[in-house]
C-alpha cells in the first residue's frame, strides 16, 4: 500500500478504472447544474426552477420532499403539481438510494469533497467532533421550527438550497455561506456538514433505508485489509457490517446513510465492491462468512 488513497487501485485498474464512479458522479452533478443553467445562460429552457422544485420540459415536476414536508408542517396545503413532483422524487430515491441526492445531485457535495481532498493533501488531521446522529436532531429541529414559526425557517440558513439557488438565480452573499462550509470541512470537522449536520442528508438517509439499489462487498473474501475504502468513504461506518460480515451480515451495504457514491468500488484494487440490489444479500450469504478478521482500529 502506497501513500495516497487509491494508488493501489490505479496501479491495478488504471487511472480511469480507479476513478470511474467519481467521474460519473461529477458528470451527474455538473450535468444537473448545467441543465438548470442552460435556461438563464443560454436561453434553452429544459429545466426551470431549482432543487427545491423544478419543472422539466413543461411536464415533469420534481419536488424536494424535505422542503414540502416543512411546508406542510406550516399548515399550508400546496397545489397538486407539488404533490405529483414529490411522489416522483420519493419513488426515484426509494429505487436508487436516498442519499444518491447527496452524492449525485447536491452541489454542496462538490464543495465538501474538495475540502476533504485538500484536507488529505495538506495532511490536516483531527478537529472538532460531533456525533453523526446530530443530523437527526437537526432534522427534528427544522421540522419543529417550521411548525412553531409557520415559516420555512430552515430555508433562511440552509446552505444547500442557498448555494444551488444562488448558482442559478444569482449568488449574492451565498458565496460566503459556501466558503464557510468549505473552511468548516477543511479545518474544523471532517465530514462535518454532509456527514454529521445536514438535515437534508438525514432525511434522504432515512428514505434510503428502504432503497433498492445498493453497493455490496460481493467479493469480500478477496479483501486484503488495505482500509482504503474506509479512508475514502464519507460514511465509513456503513461499510464494516457488509465487508466484515459482522454478526453474520450479508455483503450488501444496507445502511441508509450510504450515499451510493461508488468511491469504495473505485479505490478497491481487489474489486471487492460492486453495485447491486438489496436482494443480493441472501444469495451471497451462502458464500463463506468473513473470517475472524480483526477490524483495524479506526481513528
Amino acid at each position: 500500500m502506497s501513500g495516497r488513497i487509491g494508488a493501489d487501485a490505479v496501479a491495478a485498474k488504471g487511472w480511469l478504472g480507479a476513478h470511474k464512479w467519481l467521474l460519473l458522479r461529477r458528470a451527474s452533478q455538473l450535468g444537473i447544474l448545467a441543465l438548470f443553467l442552460l435556461g438563464p445562460l443560454a436561453g434553452v429552457w429544459i429545466v426551470k426552477g431549482n432543487l427545491t422544485f423544478s419543472y422539466t420540459l413543461g411536464f415533469l415536476p420534481l419536488t424536494d420532499p424535505f422542503i414540502l414536508l416543512q411546508s406542510l408542517l406550516t399548515r399550508h396545503l400546496p397545489e397538486t403539481k407539488a404533490f405529483v413532483g414529490v411522489a416522483i422524487v420519493l419513488v426515484f430515491y426509494a429505487l436508487v438510494g436516498g442519499r444518491v441526492f447527496c452524492s449525485w445531485a447536491c452541489p454542496v457535495n462538490m464543495v465538501t469533497d474538495a475540502a476533504a481532498w485538500l484536507r488529505g493533501r495538506l495532511g490536516i488531521k483531527g478537529g472538532a467532533y460531533v456525533s453523526r446522529k446530530t443530523r437527526y436532531w437537526i432534522l427534528a429541529m427544522t421540522l419543529v421550527l417550521a411548525a412553531a414559526t409557520g415559516t420555512l425557517a430552515w430555508e433562511l440558513v440552509n446552505p444547500v438550497s442557498i448555494f444551488h439557488r444562488g448558482l442559478i438565480f444569482g449568488l449574492g452573499a451565498a458565496w460566503a455561506v459556501i466558503l464557510a462550509i468549505f473552511l468548516f470541512e477543511l479545518f474544523v470537522m471532517q465530514d462535518g456538514w454532509c456527514g454529521r449536520l445536514c438535515p437534508m442528508g438525514a432525511f434522504y438517509g432515512l428514505l434510503g433505508k428502504v432503497s433498492l439499489f445498493r453497493p455490496a462487498a460481493i467479493r469480500r473474501s478477496a479483501c486484503n485489509d488495505c482500509m482504503e475504502c474506509f479512508a475514502v468513504c464519507p460514511e465509513p461506518q456503513v461499510i464494516r457490517p457488509a465487508l466484515k460480515g459482522v454478526g453474520g451480515a450479508g455483503p450488501v451495504i444496507l445502511a441508509g446513510n450510504c450515499t451510493n457514491c461508488g468511491r469504495c468500488i473505485d479505490v478497491c484494487s481487489k474489486d471487492v465492491f460492486a453495485f447491486g440490489t438489496r436482494f443480493g444479500n441472501k444469495v451471497a450469504k451462502v458464500s463463506q462468512p468473513a473470517q475472524g478478521m480483526k477490524p483495524a482500529a479506526c481513528k
Binding site: 419543472y55 411546508s71 400546496p78 412553531a148 409557520g150 440558513v157 449574492g172 452573499a173
Partner: protein
C-alpha cells in the same frame, strides 16, 4: 453469581445514563441553534416596504410557509421583473419580490407567475389581474407632488392600468393663486392592484407616490364606528325622527345652499357701484 448481578445492572444503568446524557447534550446544543434560527425567522417575517410580492401572493405570514423558493414565478414572468432574494437582502432568503421603482408589474392578463407557482403561495384563485392586491399606492409626499403644487403632471393618473378607478383626479381650489384648480391624485384602495406603475413613472427624483404593503398603507376605522349618512342610506331614511331641515341664523343678505355654503342672496346682489374699494394704484389710472 450473586456478585455479578449488581455489576450487570450498574452496567445497564451506566449505558442508560450515557444515553440520557448524550440525548440531553444533543437536545440542548441543537435546541440552542434552533432558538437562534427561530428568532431570526421571526425577524425575517417582516417584508421591507419597498419589496412587493408578485400578484396573488398570500398574506406574508402564510406566504413564508407556502413559498418553497423554487423561482418558477421568476422564470415565467415575461418582463423579468421578479427576483429571488439573496441571503444578504432584507427579504426572506429565496422568496420572490420586485421593486416597483425599478420595474413595476406589467399586469399580464394570463398571470403566468401565478400559474407557474407549484404550491399556491401565489393563489391560483386569482384569475383576473385587475383583482390583484400586490400592495397599495399611497401619495406619500404631498409637499413635492407636482399636482399638489398646482401643476398638471398627472403622470401617475395617466399610467395607471386601472385609470379613473384606482387613481382619480379630484379638483380643489388652488389657494396659492386663488383662481386655479389643483388636480389632486387620489388612490382608491378597492381598485388599486399595487402594480407600481405610478411609482415607477413619477418624474420626481424620489417618487412622491409609492406602493406599500396594504396593511402598512391602510388605516382601519374602529369596529364600532357608525357613520350617520351611511346608516341613513342603508335604512332608506333618517334614523333620528323627526328629520327637520336646519334653520340657520344667516348674515343679512346671505343664503345657505347645501354643498355650496354661504352665498349672496340673489335678491341682494351687490350693485356695481358698491364694490369694495380697490387701492387706486391698482385701478390702472394715474395717481
Amino acid at each position: 453469581m450473586e456478585a455479578d448481578k449488581p455489576r450487570k445492572t450498574s452496567a445497564a444503568a451506566q449505558a442508560r445514563r450515557q444515553f440520557l446524557l448524550d440525548s440531553a447534550r444533543m437536545a440542548c446544543g441543537v435546541g440552542l441553534l434552533g432558538i437562534g434560527i427561530g428568532l431570526y425567522a421571526k425577524q425575517a417575517k417582516a417584508l421591507p416596504p419597498l419589496a412587493v410580492r408578485p400578484p396573488g401572493a398570500l398574506a406574508e405570514k402564510d406566504f413564508l410557509g407556502a413559498c418553497i423558493r423554487c423561482g418558477l414565478c421568476v422564470r415565467d414572468c415575461p418582463y423579468d421583473i421578479l427576483s429571488l432574494a439573496t441571503p444578504e437582502e432584507p427579504v426572506s432568503t429565496g422568496t420572490p419580490y420586485f421593486v416597483a421603482r425599478q420595474l413595476p408589474c406589467e399586469m399580464c392578463e394570463d398571470i403566468p407567475c401565478v400559474k407557474a407557482c407549484p404550491t399556491g403561495a401565489l393563489d391560483h384563485s386569482l384569475t383576473d389581474i385587475n383583482k390583484a392586491k400586490m400592495g397599495l399606492a399611497v401619495l406619500v409626499d404631498q409637499e413635492n407632488c407636482l399636482n399638489f403644487l398646482g401643476l398638471r403632471c398627472d403622470i401617475c393618473y395617466r399610467v395607471c392600468p386601472v385609470i379613473d378607478k384606482a387613481i382619480t383626479l379630484e379638483q380643489q381650489l388652488n389657494a396659492r393663486t386663488g383662481k386655479h384648480a389643483l388636480f389632486i391624485p387620489v388612490v382608491h384602495s378597492d381598485a388599486c392592484t399595487g402594480c407600481g406603475k405610478c411609482e415607477k413613472a413619477c418624474p420626481l427624483e424620489a417618487a412622491a407616490i409609492k406602493v406599500y404593503p396594504t396593511e402598512l398603507a391602510k388605516g382601519e376605522p374602529g369596529k364600532h364606528y357608525r357613520f350617520g349618512w351611511v346608516e341613513k342610506d342603508k335604512a332608506g331614511g333618517s334614523l333620528v325622527a323627526p328629520d327637520v331641515e336646519h334653520r340657520y341664523n344667516l348674515p343679512e343678505g346671505q343664503r345657505y345652499e347645501s354643498g355650496r355654503g354661504l352665498n349672496p342672496d340673489a335678491g341682494s346682489e351687490a350693485a356695481p357701484g358698491t364694490q369694495p374699494a380697490v387701492p387706486r394704484a391698482l385701478q390702472g389710472g394715474k395717481l
